[in-house]
Symmetry: C2
Subunit: 388 residues, 2 copies
């Protein structure tokens, strides 16, 4: 009944599959087994919020040659049949006696030689979205076939975005930017933070987001101590800094950036910290190039923050972005991932204030051969003031 034409033409998915198969060949993998929402969407174009239910596992196999095979619950057949995937094998789930294991085992035995290697992501920032007992059972029925870690294979492919993907990311960043523009209309002093969160999500939807998978933020006197919590009931007040950080989604692609607002005239300390964050971001956007490593950008941001008089926040200061709110690599001290043209990344420097407070700042961009091209509308140099 749906007439969604598909988010991308089949050629986009054929290219992705070819790139996977090239990485697999280099690593001696005979098949790739994928189980998570972003990986399944990435290979097939199958987009559903039904992943919210943990009841059913979903599997996609990328063979060494030829097209991917979907091994999925029957309830997903109609939408999967509208994607470019033609080999769709289904079972009635949930089934306490066989969670698709017979079907999946048969498919892997068909596609993989007797002593072959099956890759699945096992490393940093991954998990296996299927029951662990089923995974252990599967290992037992695959004979001499071996399951190996495919994290690097998936990372190397997914972290380079096609122009079609960049266009999707630019679109959702623009939608997020328009929603942020409306914040002064509803984030008035006296409004509870939870009312601000609701209004911001409404703004994202009205500006064109399909849904809002992520919203965090905080408001507190001259800064905040927590950037990942849902909202409380405290009314925002004169002297607060309000921060909203959103992961809105359009066509399966995420934005991930934040904005700060001063409720009334900001303190000199806050103004200085915001300026340092803005300038450090500017420095990094100007300097970043393919060939640097993720950790080089982390160091560059830290040095720039210090030069501009701020104490850098701990932890990572940016990350990949795409079909998931956060993707590899991490812009952190110990991530040596080489940066390549086509990566879409966030820069999110934080400045530590006293009494456990901080201010954070975030932009999204695509890395080109000659440097960064912003996707999020650049935050203003001057902290926007919402008059009390």
């Amino acid at each position: 009944m749906h007439d969604t034409p598909g988010i991308f033409p089949a050629s986009e998915f054929e290219n992705r599959t070819a790139r996977f198969q090239s990485e697999m060949a280099q690593r001696g993998m005979d098949a790739l087994l994928l189980t998570t929402p972003p990986d399944v969407f990435y290979v097939t174009g199958f987009l559903t919020r039904f992943w919210e239910s943990p009841a059913r596992p979903w599997f996609v196999i990328v063979p060494a040659r030829g097209e991917p095979v979907a091994v999925i619950p029957a309830i997903g057949e109609p939408p999967m049949a509208r994607t470019w995937i033609t080999d769709i094998r289904t079972w009635e789930a949930p089934n306490p006696n066989d969670s698709g294991m017979t079907l999946l085992g048969d498919a892997l035995r068909d596609l993989v030689p007797d002593t072959g290697y099956i890759g699945t992501p096992m490393g940093l920032e991954t998990h296996l979205r299927m029951p662990l007992a089923d995974y252990q059972y599967l290992c037992g029925v695959l004979g001499q076939r071996t399951l190996i870690d495919a994290t690097a294979c998936v990372q190397r492919v997914r972290e380079i975005k096609s122009e079609a993907e960049v266009a999707k990311l630019r679109n959702i960043c623009e939608i997020g930017g328009r929603a942020f523009d409306q914040v002064p209309q509803f984030a008035q002093p006296g409004t509870s933070l939870e009312a601000v969160f609701r209004a911001f999500q409404v703004a994202c939807l009205q500006q064109g987001a399909d849904w809002v998978s992520y919203l965090a933020g905080a408001a507190g006197p001259s800064g905040y101590s927590d950037v990942i919590s849902p909202a409380g009931t405290r009314p925002i007040a004169n002297g607060d800094i309000l921060m909203l950080d959103t992961g809105a989604v359009r066509d399966g692609y995420f934005c991930d950036f934040d904005r700060n607002y001063a409720i009334g005239k900001p303190s000199a300390e806050t103004t200085r910290a915001h300026e340092a964050l803005w300038r450090a971001t500017e420095d990094a956007l100007a300097a970043i190039r393919p060939g640097m490593r993720a950790c080089d950008v982390h160091q560059l941001l830290c040095q720039s923050l210090v030069r501009h008089g701020a104490e850098p926040g701990v932890g990572r200061l940016g990350h990949g972005l795409g079909v998931s709110l956060t993707e590899w690599p991490s812009l952190s001290a110990d991530d040596e991932t080489p940066l390549r043209a086509g990566m879409v990344l966030t820069l999110e420097p934080g400045a530590v204030l006293d009494q456990g407070r901080m201010i954070v700042h975030e932009e999204n961009f695509v890395l080109r051969d000659d440097g960064a091209e912003l996707l999020s509308p650049r935050a203003p140099f001057d902290l926007p003031v919402i008059a009390p």
Copy 2:
């Protein structure tokens, strides 16, 4: 900076912990290792949308005696410190060299005897939300301690809701009901399904949802063939049946029910199918009692649908509901879970029409000693008609 008082008093979590520890003792488990958003929220009250980022694993250990221990990324310490949990151990994540494994291994060795058993969910409707390679490493550093399946332990505890939980579920069901009441205002013929989806999410937020984790639906001539897809651009048209199915969230608790609307006068076939679904739901609500098994209710629904002239849909016809959109058990032919007072469940019978079409119907209720108490406002017997 947040002043959220906590969704529940500490006594709620103490009771949950005691119930886990009782189930663990019966199964000879010395600790329970939990990794997923619903399980971590259930034990600690730690609620964040930050799970949307796959970058970091989060761990909670319920020991055989005493309070739970949180082993989490440092970024989560401020909000976790506002919960009832006092033993919080943190590391800077993501860290490619150690994803919390040293900390988690130490904690488990402290809490579990040398030859003890550590339960973690491995079974139906579960997954382990941590890198598989880390899990394999962890197994290696635990010496003679053994990891065993804790699915039944977690299911038996989580599937019985406290009155405080029932109140949360009633509240989000009422919010969802008020949003459904508004559908005729924006689902006019000519409006695209994606515009209807956006407006419905806005309505959920404006009625009090914190966020809308799930929305699916469809519209088609006298029925639809797919109930899990996001919306397409096709305008809804005279003769369509429009169905919306939402999992909106308030205070971490989900509703999960749907509503159908006829665009213009429904066909006799559609009217008959909707009546059969309504009557079968009524029959099941009247007959369901503690002591039945999940499969008994499935059979009851199927028989009632046939009696009322409809062909039952395949797959499960209902499921548990709570801190996740769907929870155990499944009202399916092969789920023999005994139903107990305090369970919150959905009934979702489907009627198969010809040409791959169907109509589905869903309500949420809590099972009491003397039967079902509805939480969702009951769907009207007559299919609501949106005049063209």
